[in-house]
């Protein structure tokens, strides 16, 4: 199926879901107010109408593939690294997960340039240090401390 049609179907589904949920909203209790339903209905109507146009309209040209071959693997790999970072940050706080994340991402982005591991480590240590000093000491912000202690 052409990508525009897929997008059209998704948009219609979202529009219909929003419209259904909007029906369940209460009316405004203020005199003269048109209420909180009007704008959600407008959003739903826009989505339903535009989605339907995309479904019905003859696609003008073939869409370029979003990701091809190796790109799909790369896409999943970076998503995995980011999810891993968030989970680790929740568990172990800022310092160690950030060091790991920077090393891994630096090596991933620098694969073609053959960035040596030592360079990625030095880079990660420097950047983590700078961020720690800037956030914690200069701006007095709290960085994630991790929940692993609570779990134990």
């Amino acid at each position: 199926m052409h990508r525009d049609r897929i997008v059209g179907i998704i948009t219609v589904i979202i529009g219909a879901a929003v419209a259904l949920m909007t029906f369940q909203l209460p009316d405004s209790n203020m005199a003269g107010d048109v209420g909180p339903k009007v704008f959600p209905f407008i959003s739903a109507a826009i989505m339903l109408l535009c989605g339907a146009i995309l479904v019905v309209r003859k696609p003008t040209k073939d869409a370029k593939p979003f990701l091809v071959g190796e790109q799909k693997k790369r896409f999943l790999a970076i998503i995995g690294v980011i999810i891993g970072y968030i989970v680790l940050m929740w568990a172990a706080g800022f310092v160690i997960p950030t060091l790991l994340m920077l090393v891994v991402l630096c090596l991933m982005f620098g694969k073609d340039e053959k960035v040596p591991v030592w360079q990625a480590i030095v880079y990660a240590v420097i950047i983590t240090g700078i961020i720690y000093v800037m956030f914690s000491i200069v701006l007095h912000l709290r960085l994630p401390v991790g929940n692993i202690i609570n779990l134990i």
């Binding site: 826009i46 940050m89 920077l102 620098g110």
Partner: protein, 497 residues
Amino acid sequence: MADVFSALALLLEPATLIMCFAGAMVGVILGAIPGMAAGLAITVMLPISFTMEPTQAFALLMSIWVGGCSGSFIGSILLGIPGTASSLATTYDGYAMTKKGEASRALSIGTLSNFMGTVPSVIIAMIACPLIASIAVKMGAWEYFSLSFLAITLVVAISKGNMVKGFIGVGMGLLLTQVGYSPISSTERFTFGSYYLAGGFSMATVMIGIFAGSLIIMSYARNEKGPTSSFDGKLTGFHIPKKDFTSNIGNIIRSFLIGLGIGFLPGMGAALSNMVSYATARNSSKHAEDFGTGIPDGIWAPEVANNASVGGAIIPMIALGIPGDGTTAMLLGGLTIHGIEAGPLMQKNNPVFCNMIFLAALIAALFCLVVEIFGIRWFPKLLDAPYHFLYPVIMVLCLLGVYIETYNIANIIMACFFIAVGLYMMYAGIPNTPFILSFVLGSQMETYFRKAISYAKGDMLMFFKRPVSCILLIVAIGSILVPIIKEQIAKKKAVKQ
């Protein structure tokens, strides 16, 4: 005038000046690197700036914006690859001059034309904003709703051949503003009982997801790393032959006015003004055939115009509270978080801060000029940007920026949801700007709409009975219908032939 001096005193404090300088430097560097742009830097800095003093935060953000608009010509001239779309037209003659061995001359013209575009346009904005605000303050809820509606339709109208997807972006943007408590009646909407959704989505979380996160993920997935070639010529210092300037005074003034005018219109901005002014300069030139072969006229025109758009875009942002593009939308969001409401009353309620914003832009332009004059020999280094060092740190700063808003990992998970939305928008070909504008304006549009109906005792036609509101709505509807009708006529003509 006292307000201007008070604002200047605030800006001349060492910490604020450092922010201006740092912002201008970051802006020029990221503006020069293809694929980065100052908008990305503003996205990353937005949540961090919330923790700063408003003066310092806005000195930083305005300087990044001005620096970013200024730096984009470097890639255009040295490699024929613009840092951002705002310097696309500069590649035609800028790169041609580089190929002729005149890179230093081209860069010098670019540097000066940036300054000559930004400074007068910001001064004009400084004068125009109070005047426009004094008129705008008389507008009611009807006019404000219609004006916001017009801003959105203008942005959708320029989603070339993609108006339907532009409207899907509008629907999505509006929908996101409806999560949480509604304006006026405080009704809980689409929160699914979650405590985290009750407050709605913050600007920084949405922007970081849609703009920055998805951009970095796709850059890695598609292995996009900017220019593959590098500049290997020689650069001398800053130098502009007197004739290059004197023979282009008319061109500069014309391009400036084009840039200012286009910058003022929502959705247009520097990306369009540089192309229009280049085309106008070529069409009105006595030696039009020389354009594209490497002549100074072809650099003055786009570079003055794209930087003049800065001043043009500030006017609706400050005087009316209407953003023209994604970057000004983020700046407006930044103002709101600092408790300052942009719009006609801002001049009255926060006159010093208002002037500080203008002066920060002027000081940033001055810093850019100095940095670019003395740093001209190092420009090629910027284009050999180590993406493998830049992207990881940007990603970490994005996620930490989102975290420090609420000190909760849940906010990071929310940002991940918006990264997914951003990726979906890329997949679907849904343009960013209509989405962002609707997200920024959605809540206040709903407030104005509901107030307007309430004040008019339910009379919906009041939007058309009030002359200014009526004109704005007619222009808005026309901006959507005219391109559709034109397209249909063109199709019929094509069928007949």
